[in-house]
Amino acid sequence: MFVVATCGLIYELVAGTLASYLLGDSVTQFSTIIGVYLFSMGIGSYLSKFFNRNLIGWFIQIEILVGLIGGTSSSLLFLLFEQVESFRILLYLLVSLTGTLVGLEIPLLMRILQGRFEFKDLVSQVFTFDYIGALLASIIFPLLLVPNLGLIKTSFFFGILNVLVALIVAVKFEKETSWAKFLKISSLATLALLLTGFVFSERIMSFSESLAYRDTIIYAKSSPYQRIILTKNDRELRLFLNGNLQFSSADEYRYHEALVHPAMQGIKSPRKVLVLGGGDGLAVREILKYHSVVSITLVDLDEAMTKLFSTNSLLLDINKQSLLSPKVKVINADAFQWLKEQKELFDYIAVDFPDPSNYSVGKLYTNSLYKLLYRSLAPKGIIVVQATSPYVAPKSFWCVNTTMQSVGFFTVPYHTFVPSFGDWGYIMALKENSYQIPSAFLPNLRFINSETFRQMTIFPKDMMALEAEVNKLNNQVLVHYFEKEWASYLQ
């Protein structure tokens, strides 16, 4: 009885929590889930009057079903989150199904016990247990279950309890039920299934990445290199790579204008341009605003990215079809390897790699790579490197600066505010100490002008230059700085 009651509430809590993980906005999610759940319980109770014979048998079957559906519900929801168009329908369907079944439980149970107790004792006992069970559930759920078991294991665990109840009843009341054997076998089978789920729940969890995104996923694809996800809401489109936000259409212009124009404006009629990373074509879009440019070489590892941004109409709107320009040559290759072999000189090089959050990417921020960049830069050319947040990760930011200087570059660090990211930093690098803040920028920009850029080169006290080691292939200090700084920021 007690178990039955606890299980009932747990499924509801699981569904509510999941909904707020996956869909965001916990108050609405929780209250609509609870509403639907209670309403379905009402339906269940109503339906109970149509069950007239073999009550114990029905009860057992319902227990098995509750165990099965409730137990697998969270895994199903996690797994189907990306596959199913209208996830909400599935969510509420599962919630109402569980609710209805749970709603059937109590009336049936009371009727089964009818002959065995006096009515007032029966009502008092059943509801006492029901409410105590509910209390227990609501306490152990946030305090014990979620932190220790996680959602998926919690549901499996209670599914198992439900089915165990079914099994015990089936064994105890063997003589009073028809199809006792069938009931026993099916409860054993369900039990086995749930146990397997319990054991493999870590794997299930890793399949389902969905709880990272609060908006609707409109595109999801795994390339050999990364997981590409596009989400959309009324206001903006967002791109995530391996779960990390790459841009939001609402404010990416700030980021890309700051990446491109201070350098481009500082070069006398730039002709040849190289973009490393940046497969979204957004930097290229900015670069194409300069008519002196005759060629742009874009080197991005992932063909899936450059293809997506050359074909998807929503994205073509954002990057203004930049990758389709006849001036643009897209090369899908590893930037390090490519740079090592190429022999051309470029006037402007935009380096837009992912943050140095692991050793693989960390290589792209080493003095070895910067030496190759030095070799690839025209004498009066300029390079700009995106260099993580100087506010969150000042040591990392200044490490990129130091590393670039160590190979002979003169640098101009600057930073700007991009709402989706925070305060973001760039290092501009030149072969001569000759950079002057441009007196004018292109007229048709949305964000940057001479005055704005002047401000960007000012670093307030909490972002002042820090001593940092040179990042090398054989020490990867940047990855260590970066990990430490972001981890403590996110705590």
């Binding site: 990364q226 936000l245 390897q337 992912p354 054989n474």
Partner: protein
């Protein structure tokens, strides 16, 4: 593109961690012992090696050679020592020279292989930064652009692509991959204290010089101080030495034994304390752009260095040539060998012969000559090694630090594995791609003769089972991702510096030439199996040979 951790992605990570938190270990660690379905691959070396197969060709060896060739110099053996000797002769404008190597490739214990995923070593895989007084070696590294220049203090700049990338080393201990090979994760304070004491002691030895002005421990071995107090260390085992210093921590003992097995293939109780300390104290290499303890490495390991040496002297190399007898006759030395391809025997009449083959081989090739008697040869013993190259369809699971160059499992009988693609530049996630791991296993537990015999009897399946059982400790799913395992059995992998060997009178005289005709150049002459020693021995022997011709 930027990729800050978004709050959500961080949250997702913690949620995933939570989901996985339950009953840690209980469900995962009791996974059944790996039972493997057939894994592809083969055993090379050992019984499959040419040398082994040709043992039965005695009848052929008794007949007169079918062809007589003439060279001024012959080098027997194309390992690092032989190649280094050939390079030296070349530098001294010797044209009439032939290097005979029984295998189809040069390199010996520094051989390497390659498949569609990566190049990989079959044996030696790294070179620590050389000491500044190893001038010839530094020169060679300059010639090959491993050293790109020197700073004002005379410290070399090393080519960054050849310095081992970070992360370098990881140890799996107490269920977790920790940084560095020195045990610390979950290691009691007192043991850590002992480890620190020991390392400090070794650091003192590193700097120590004897009354003869030489370093107590250095490379080549020959250049080490001859002060009695140091040489006496050769009389005791490394185990006894540790105990005599009140160092009894099991963690420390494991670590030092790991080092002895790594450099010599010998257990703590079988290694001379002089050799054991040598591991820690003989390297003082410094660089303008790297730390002292850095190493040079390549996807194919020291196979890369072998290729550079080979390039220089390619035209002098004759592979598939099994030398079976050497004899002096008048002014000449006769080198008889089997040309494996044509299956005929040939003779070279030479003025000088440099034996760059190990002493256990020389025992069979050479006539009885002074000093080299039964007694002499019986001092040389060699540890058998197993090296396996595992091709994985994707990276295996691991807890803790990410895959690094050298990955060692605490208390494993083997030495763990090296990630062959570590030095590749491709920045993109090795995380999703195929890997090659080179697994090293010195068979140091038993007497080498017994271990060698047992090893020769094991089949491919048996080795794989043993290797998987070991690796499964640290990587639950390794059996599911392994595609292919090739195995190389080194019957005589490394000379064993057992107590009393290195500084015995016999060993000290081992490289003495015979009759101004036969010279010796193998790393085992120094008593330690190291690239630096092999490289040096080759040059020393070549110099001796050249010197005597001039006279």
């Amino acid at each position: 593109m930027i990729g800050p951790f978004s709050r959500r992605s961080f949250f997702r990570k913690s949620a995933a961690a939570l989901a996985g938190l339950t009953l840690p270990g209980m469900l995962t660690e009791c996974a059944p012992a790996t039972k493997l379905t057939k894994v592809a691959g083969e055993i090379k070396g050992g019984a499959a090696s040419l040398g082994h197969k040709l043992r039965g060709e005695h009848a052929l060896f008794k007949q007169a050679p079918s062809q007589i060739l003439n060279y001024e110099y012959v080098i027997v053996g194309g390992g690092v020592a032989g190649l280094s000797a050939a390079r030296w002769l070349q530098k001294n404008n010797i044209d009439s020279c032939c290097l005979l190597e029984l295998e189809s490739h040069v390199g010996g214990n520094a051989a390497s292989g390659k498949n569609e995923v990566s190049s990989y070593p079959w044996g030696a895989h790294y070179l620590p930064l050389p000491n500044l007084d190893q001038e010839e070696l530094l020169k060679f590294l300059q010639e090959t652009e491993v050293i790109t220049g020197f700073n004002e203090q005379g410290l070399p700049f090393y080519n960054e692509y050849h310095l081992c990338f970070d992360p370098k080393e990881r140890l799996y201990i107490n269920g977790y991959w920790q940084d560095s090979l020195i045990p610390h994760f979950g290691v009691p304070e007192e043991d850590q204290q002992q480890i620190a004491t020991f390392l400090k002691l070794m650091d003192t030895y590193r700097k120590l010089q004897g009354s003869d002005g030489k370093y107590a421990f250095t490379l080549p071995v020959e250049n080490s101080s001859q002060d009695k107090e140091f040489l006496e260390l050769d009389q005791v085992t490394m185990l006894d030495y540790l105990l005599s210093q009140q160092l009894d921590s099991p963690y420390l003992h494991w670590y030092v034994e790991y080092c002895c097995r790594d450099d010599y293939g010998t257990a703590l109780k079988d290694t001379s304390a002089w050799a054991g300390i040598h591991y820690f104290a003989a390297r003082r290499g410094v660089a303008a752009n790297a730390e002292t303890n850095t190493v040079l490495t390549w996807p194919e390991g020291n196979g890369w260095l072998v290729k550079q040496l080979h390039k220089l002297i390619q035209s002098k190399v004759c592979t598939g040539a099994l030398v079976y007898t050497i004899a002096t006759e008048g002014e000449a030395v006769h080198i008889d060998f089997l040309d494996v391809k044509s299956h005929t025997t040939k003779r070279i009449q030479a003025k000088k012969c440099i034996m760059a083959s190990p002493q256990f081989v020389n025992q069979r090739l050479l006539p009885e000559i002074p000093l080299r008697d039964q007694n002499f040869y019986s001092m040389y013993s060699y540890s058998p090694w197993v090296v396996a190259n595992l091709t994985l369809s994707k990276p295996m699971e691991r807890k803790g630090s990410p895959l690094s160059w050298d990955n060692v499992i605490y208390q494993s009988p083997a030495l763990g594995y090296v990630h062959a693609r570590h030095q590749q530049l491709n920045s993109h996630a090795a995380q999703q791609e195929k890997l090659v791991l080179t697994y090293y296993w010195p068979l140091a537990d038993k007497d080498p003769k017994i271990a060698r015999r047992e090893a020769l009897q094991k089949g491919h399946d048996e080795w794989i089972q043993l290797i998987m059982d070991d690796l499964t400790k640290a990587h639950k799913n390794i059996a599911q991702v392994v595609e292919k395992v090739d195995i190389w059995l080194w019957g005589h992998g490394m000379v064993r510096p057992t107590p009393g060997f290195i500084w015995s009178e016999t060993r000290k005289k081992a490289s003495m030439p015979f009759d101004n005709k036969i010279y010796f150049a193998h790393s085992d002459l120094g008593g330690v199996s190291l690239f630096e020693e092999a490289f040096y021995q080759g040059i020393r022997a070549a110099k001796e040979a050249l010197g005597s011709i001039a006279s």
